[in-house]
Symmetry: C2
Subunit: 83 residues, 2 copies
């Protein structure tokens, strides 16, 4: 069993309303030094190891995990899961 991390971020140029809301809230709390905020996701998967592990996870991203129109994704195969 392996830990696989899928890092998903909005493509450059895509408006990030959640990030804008965070930035505005930080400003209202007095943190004026924050000039931009963007929010991404990290999905940690526990996947049975196989020779096709990375290719399978890429297929999972294309079919479900990431929206190819507005999101980029990066797959990071991590350590074995301690059972």
């Amino acid at each position: 069993m392996k830990k696989v991390y899928v890092h998903i971020t909005l493509k450059q140029g895509v408006l990030d309303p959640q990030g804008k809301a965070i930035q505005a809230s930080l400003h209202s709390l007095g943190f004026q030094e924050v000039e931009d905020a963007r929010v991404g996701k990290v999905i940690e998967l526990h996947v049975q190891d196989s020779p096709h592990l990375e290719a399978n996870v890429q297929e999972m991203c294309e079919k479900l995990l990431a929206n190819p129109v507005i999101e980029d994704y990066r797959i990071e195969v991590g350590e074995a899961v301690r059972s």
Copy 2:
């Protein structure tokens, strides 16, 4: 200006309904090899550099960005923002 990444994950033992939904969807797509899925956030901040940068971001986490009851967070100070 510095890039600062705030990695936010649910504490161990906290139910992750979003992760469970992803796992169920992956199974219905035929990816039976996925035995667990957990979803975290990464907030990328662009913050004016200062000697108290990390302490300030920690305060932002405590006040707004992370829910200390159910979430853990980790601060990663990255590279300078290219203007």
